[in-house]
């Protein structure tokens, strides 16, 4: 059977409507920038819940919203309002968002990097090249002192 014959036969079983994926993929691509932030918020909240042994249902009760609403937030697809962020911070006792002022130093427990090594998905990524172990930092990332112990060696190796 040739490919064209197979494609003809497929016409009989293939759905006429377009696949849902294409619309979703377009949406994800068009809204990539804020979705990234939403995902970061959801991940931080999920890890905090796990660390503190709080369920999504507990969080819903604390925030006086439905468990379905909390579950929707946790997907990382919600365009959070400042109000929601502030209420999440209050309920969990963690800081989720910090606005860095232009020209002002970062908070005292953060380290500002003089220049950047290479773009990576996370703020810090451990790299292995043979026996050499190093870390690379995302462009513009702020990292805690605990995460930055090997930055000097990175710069000398990669930079």
């Amino acid at each position: 059977m040739t490919k064209d014959e197979i494609l003809d036969r497929l016409q009989e079983v293939v759905a006429e409507e377009p696949i849902q994926w294409i619309e979703r993929a377009d949406y994800r691509a068009d809204n990539k920038k804020w979705l990234k932030r939403s995902q970061a918020v959801a991940l931080l909240v999920l890890r905090t819940l796990r660390e503190k042994g709080i369920t999504q249902k507990d969080l819903a009760l604390l925030m006086e919203v439905s468990p379905q609403q909390v579950n929707k937030w946790m997907k990382g697809k919600e365009n959070f309002t400042f109000d929601t962020i502030a209420r999440l911070e209050e309920a969990l006792g963690v800081e989720i968002m910090t606005i860095v002022q232009v020209g002002q130093p970062l908070a005292k427990n953060w380290v500002e990097l003089p220049y950047l090594v290479r773009q990576q998905p996370g703020p810090v990524r451990v790299n292995r090249r043979g026996t050499v172990k190093s870390k690379s930092i995302v462009m513009g990332a702020s990292i805690t002192k605990e995460m930055s112990f090997s930055t000097q060696s990175i710069h000398s190796k990669v930079g």
């Binding site: 197979i6 759905a15 696949i19 994926w21 991940l43 990382g76």
Partner: protein, 192 residues
């Protein structure tokens, strides 16, 4: 396990099945899951031992979630480009360069079951499909594969079952014949 519909992902090249009981087709479901923070956090937390076994180096659950989302984004963008290009022209995307044999040397596999890797190596993202003609694939599902073989974990064994189901469906509907039963070697992944 039963297939109720087939959707076109990329014209003349990539199709995706919808299983009975599922609200969406396999390809749509995959990218929903791979962009769902709750799903990913839960998956990596439940598979933490595999994640941190050393195969992918030192990696935390948080990092794994971020890497997966970024990797899936790149893979999705690649397929979007193919889908757009295939609408604009009759030129067929060269998917044979993307999919690799699952068991190229296993004679018990008459149909070539294939998988697509994520766009960066090493990647744990897998899309599973059956190749029914040159550059023509039917997606059955996909997975985050943290172990060496598919028989090691239930979620991967489920994917083997889905592949088998798709194979039967294609045979039952006369979409594949003996002439299609040929093994082949696919090239390494090369984004183009």
């Amino acid at each position: 396990m039963e297939i109720i519909r087939i959707f076109v992902v990329v014209n003349r090249s990539l199709l995706s099945v919808q299983f009975y009981g599922e609200a969406e087709d396999a390809f749509t479901v995959l990218f929903e899951q791979w962009s769902d923070v709750e799903y990913l956090e839960d998956f990596f937390e439940n598979n933490k031992a595999d994640l941190q076994s050393g195969f992918f180096g030192e990696i935390s659950v948080e990092e794994a979630v971020r890497v997966t989302i970024d990797e899936a984004e790149r893979l999705e963008e690649y397929v979007r480009r193919l889908a757009r290009a295939s609408k604009a022209s009759r030129r067929e995307p060269q998917l044979d360069f993307v999919f690799k044999d699952l068991k190229a040397n296993d004679p018990s596999f008459q149909l070539v079951k294939s998988k697509a890797y994520g766009v960066s190596k090493p990647s744990w993202l897998r899309i599973y499909a059956i190749r029914i003609a040159e550059n023509l694939y039917v997606v059955s599902g996909g997975a985050i594969k943290l172990t060496k073989t598919m028989n090691d974990r239930q979620h991967l064994r489920d994917e083997l079952e889905k592949l088998e189901c798709v194979k039967q469906y294609l045979i039952n509907n006369g979409l594949i014949s003996e002439a299609d039963y040929q093994c082949f070697e696919l090239g390494r992944y090369d984004e183009r």
